[in-house]
């Protein structure tokens, strides 16, 4: 029998970016909030110590801050005819673990999806006709750009994002991203200082007629005090961002922006090392009444609450909804059901160039440091003569020059011994890369469900990912590779190579921790699991916040949009739901 605990107004599952944002807002509104977090407490002072944080072996290779498969694994397959097998280690993507979630080890690339993303089906249908989308399951998100723009703004000011506006209230700004949707004001901080390779990239792209701009970055170009009074330091360009917590208080995370304020509030409580097993519904299945979890000692506890906010990593959000029977499983054969629908990923390729006699100094890096062109992103370019929709941001980022992971050598170099060592010495300072981060559009046969065979340590079915790169996205990515081929030409490198994406998603090599969809938002309960306020259509006192709500994934990093959705949902709860609990949208 579970230990029954006193009721709270709000139970939050997971204290990463979205959980922290929701908790901050709802405690401000006077609600009593408890957050239940599976992983450990983590804080800059105690866990991201600047004196040892740059331990590449511990954090980047052995993945100290990440979810381990013995805690929760997943199974994967490329198509429905295959039998999914468990991933023995996380490779292709690396979910976070503990307070701060994946927002601890992210790079800090802080994008806004475009107005044409939120109304993607309407937009593309108007421009190209419905036939262009016939093999895709694209759908509008239910929320519009004008509704959500201020939520992006709030997040950028919380984080102190360093960047350059490209479109201020419709006025294009040279030097910024002229393809972005109109923003209400400039970024809170100026762009980071650019490294040599990114500067060179921007120069060549300008000569080619493209529109390079500094990557919007939550690595701070200068010290900053955010609207909550929390202070952040200036990025030191140490290059230990991705897979690391920031020891310098200069990468935005829940720890560096919200928690110092939140954690002291009397109406907030955090329970770490407590794993939620399921959300319990009333007998008619129409309301959530509590959450069952195992505490750090393994004692089963039941935490009742008036509202339950599912704020874990997107994939875990979807699985918890499935395990709790919140909504109906999507069936790719019939297209019916919504849970697991529109799972998307990221579609990337890259180019590498090697020179002689350069001093690129790649150890001067950051998580989100570089120049980007969006001339081929989203629908910034005409697709009418192309056999795909979607696009990619093409960027020259300098994110790390770390000694274990960054050992580029010329093809044909010895693979070991003194010859290899010399080749890595020659390669280190002479190599630069550019990459295309492409959109991922939903198709009927990519989806999530519960695995029929494999279970976790508590006997619950694992999440099963059925995914391969759709033909549309492969065509898109190969088009980007063609563009990159043209882009590298004027560099006159001694050696250059451009990769081309092929079908057959492989879960082993790292690609991207941008897993989206599965509990998507929308205006139609037949095709979306949550409404435009991220409220479950089926159980209205449950809100599901995260990239799980993305109806598709764009050619941009998701965190900015994830956080904007959290602010948007928090606002709906405090201004609408608290006054009148119940469904905020009637289908």
């Amino acid at each position: 029998m579970a230990r029954m605990l006193p009721k709270k107004d709000v139970v939050i599952i997971g204290l990463g970016w979205t959980g922290s944002i929701m908790a901050q807002h709802l405690t401000d509104a006077g609600l009593n909030v408890v957050a239940i977090e599976r992983g450990p407490w983590r804080d800059t002072a105690t866990d991201f110590n600047i004196a040892y944080m740059q331990d590449e072996l511990r954090y980047a290779v052995r993945k100290d801050l990440f979810l381990q498969p013995n805690v929760e694994a997943m199974t994967m397959r490329n198509d429905m005819r295959q039998t999914a097998l468990p991933m023995r280690d996380y490779g292709s993507f690396l979910p976070g673990n503990g307070v701060g979630g994946a927002g601890v080890h992210w790079n800090g690339q802080t994008w806004r999806f475009w107005d044409s993303d939120f109304s993607i089906k309407t937009h593309l249908t108007q421009r190209y006709g419905a036939a262009k989308l016939k093999n895709l399951q694209l759908q509008d998100w239910g929320v519009t750009w004008n509704e959500i723009e201020h939520s992006f703004d709030t997040f950028e000011y919380l984080c102190g994002v360093s960047g350059k506006a490209g479109n201020l209230k419709g006025q294009l700004q040279p030097g910024g991203n002229v393809f972005e949707s109109p923003r209400s004001r400039e970024y809170p901080n100026p762009p980071l200082k650019m490294p040599y390779t990114s500067t060179m990239f921007a120069q060549k792209m300008t000569e080619l007629g493209y529109h390079p701009f500094p990557l919007p970055s939550s690595n701070l170009s200068q010290a900053y005090v955010n609207p909550l009074g929390v202070r952040m330091g200036q990025c030191s360009y140490c290059g230990f961002c991705e897979r690391f917590g920031c020891g310098n208080y200069s990468k935005a995370s829940a720890q560096t922006t919200i928690l110092p304020v939140l954690i002291k509030k009397p109406n907030f409580e955090l329970r770490t090392e407590c794993e939620v097993l399921k959300v319990n519904l009333t007998p008619d299945g129409k309301m959530a009444k509590s959450v069952t979890y195992l505490d750090a000692k393994g004692v089963e506890c039941e935490q009742p609450g008036d509202m339950v906010l599912i704020c874990a990593y997107g994939l875990m959000n979807v699985r918890l909804m499935m395990l709790s029977k919140i909504g109906t499983q999507y069936d790719p054969a019939t297209g019916k059901g919504t849970l697991g629908r529109n799972y998307c990923y990221q579609t990337s390729a890259g180019a590498r160039m090697m020179f002689e006699g350069k001093h690129f100094n790649p150890f001067i890096g950051a998580g989100a440091l570089g120049q980007v062109v969006d001339d081929f992103n989203g629908d910034a370019f005409d697709h009418s003569k192309l056999d795909f929709v979607g696009g990619a941001g093409i960027a020259c980022n300098v994110s790390n020059g770390r000694p274990i992971g960054n050992r580029p050598t010329l093809p044909g170099s010895p693979r070991w011994g003194a010859g290899w060592k010399q080749a890595t010495v020659d390669g280190y300072n002479n190599t630069m890369g550019i990459g295309s981060q492409g959109s991922s559009y939903p198709v009927r046969e990519n989806y999530l469900d519960l695995d029929p065979t494999y279970t976790d340590r508590h006997g619950r079915p694992l999440l099963r990912i059925t995914f391969d790169f759709p033909d549309n996205d492969v065509a898109m990515s190969n088009y980007m590779s063609d563009q990159m081929k043209k882009m590298v030409r004027p560099f006159n490198a001694k050696f250059s190579a451009v990769s081309r994406l092929k079908k057959g998603w492989n879960s082993v090599p790292y690609q991207s921790t941008h897993n989206t969809g599965g509990a998507v938002m929308g205006a139609d309960p037949k095709t979306s699991a949550v409404n435009k306020y991220l409220q479950s259509w089926d159980v209205p006192n449950v809100f599901v916040i995260g990239a799980s709500a993305f109806a598709h994934n764009a050619g941009m990093n998701p965190t900015g949009t994830v956080a904007a959705l959290a602010f948007w949902a928090a606002e709906a709860i405090t201004t609408k739901y608290i006054k009148s609990p119940g469904a905020l949208v009637h289908a």
């Binding site: 800059t44 105690t46 004196a51 010290a223 009074g229 202070r231 952040m232 330091g233 030191s236 208080y249």
Partner: protein, 391 residues
């Protein structure tokens, strides 16, 4: 009409609710919670050079607290260090400071303490070494070092100065940590800095190097209220004082404290710049650039988050206990409502040798306009030993 009005106000002010609120503020000024614990039930251990003292329970519990005290008992304990039954308190209870409090302020404090929730908690207070464990010894101490006469007003000074003097030398008992002690633990030399439980409570006089000479009154008030300002950031024992006490003081009182401190005559300073330490300075610069500059800046100016080292009094004290300790063991700043971040200084003791730490500290103490004596490897070794030994 005015007579009626005033007497009505007097009645209103005399109600116990008002007195208890005013008394609560006195408890903030006096930082009672700092030693007696958040619920005032005692139990916080004070390490003194004479042995261990554990702060007693001062909740109104009749068996283990001070529930049987009368108002007069309480006033006597606060202002003369003598508890009921003639029991002599140790001056770790800062009655030599509280003797300066007005009877009115002590009375409202008593009103407040009577409203605190009684907690049953029996405390073994006296764990001092012989002969200090004999309370009668304190009679002699008082005869030598204790002047029960309250501090007189200085008519030539402003009201703010006088209020500041009343607070600093009374309820706030700043000198308990910041004034050097003689061999009997009594104050000598006001607020010129003192060693305290492995830290060095800095010089608060107007000396430009070791003291607060470079701070404005606004800087001092900001520091006390938020725990940070452009020059420094509070950690260690001062973090507790800021959290429990100064961050909750009124703006008027903070300004008064600042006005008074700014007017303290300069101490004899820290002894001036290090000389003949070129080797240490060169090695220290390299060590600083590698280990420290990312946060504190190569110009030593810090930023909105991390404290400056240029002109930071903690860096420039005559004794280097605090900075050696902070480099070896790290520390964490206080979190206040107005400055919630509480950044941390990491421990570098595991990666720096005593000589390396001494070189860096010598460099920091003698760069960007700083001037202070060199730090020796022996000093760092001693502090390291104290940290490991826990004494």
């Amino acid at each position: 009409m005015s007579r009626f009005f005033l007497s009505a106000i007097f009645v209103a002010l005399s109600t116990s609710a008002f007195a208890a609120d005013a008394g609560k503020y006195q408890a903030v000024l006096g930082d009672c919670a700092g030693c007696h614990g958040k619920d005032l039930s005692g139990g916080v251990t004070l390490m003194t050079p004479f042995g261990k003292l554990v702060a007693p329970n001062i909740t109104p519990d009749k068996d283990t607290g001070i529930g049987n005290y009368t108002a007069d008992d309480f006033r006597a304990a606060m202002k003369t260090g003598v508890a009921p039954g003639g029991k002599r308190l140790y001056p770790a209870m800062p009655y030599p400071y509280y003797a300066n409090m007005s009877d009115g302020d002590v009375a409202v404090l008593w009103s407040y303490l009577k409203t605190v929730k009684p907690v049953k908690n029996s405390v073994d207070i006296n764990q001092l070494h012989f002969p200090f464990n004999l309370r009668i010894v304190m009679a002699g101490w008082n005869a030598l070092f204790f002047d029960a006469k309250p501090q007189a007003l200085e008519p030539g000074k402003s009201a703010a100065w006088n209020r500041g003097a009343y607070l600093v030398n009374g309820a706030a008992h700043c000198g308990a940590c910041h004034s050097p002690k003689n061999m009997f633990g009594a104050d000598k030399g006001p607020l010129t800095g003192a060693v305290l439980a492995g830290w060095y409570a800095p010089d608060l006089t107007s000396d430009k190097n070791a003291g607060l000479g470079r701070w404005s009154t606004a800087d001092i008030a900001e520091y006390l209220q938020t725990g940070r300002n452009a020059h420094s950031i509070a950690s260690g024992p001062m973090a507790e004082a800021v959290e429990n006490s100064t961050s909750q003081m009124s703006d008027t009182d903070l300004n008064a404290v600042a006005v008074y401190l700014k007017d303290l005559p300069a101490s004899r300073g820290n002894g001036g710049a290090a000389t003949g330490v070129e080797t240490q300075m060169k090695a220290g610069k390299d060590g600083y650039d590698i280990n420290c500059a990312a946060c504190h800046g190569r110009d030593g100016k810090g930023n909105a988050l991390f404290p400056a080292l240029a002109g930071n009094p903690n860096v420039l004290q005559v004794r280097d206990d605090t900075i050696a300790r902070v480099v070896l063991a790290g520390t964490r700043a206080v979190s206040t409502a107005k400055a919630p971040t509480a950044p941390a200084m990491p421990s570098l003791g595991w990666k720096l040798s005593n000589q390396q730490a001494a070189d860096i500290l010598t460099y920091v103490r003698n760069t960007w306009g700083n001037a202070a004596p060199a730090v020796s490897a022996e000093t760092v070794e001693r502090v390291r030993g104290e940290l490991h030994g826990g004494s």
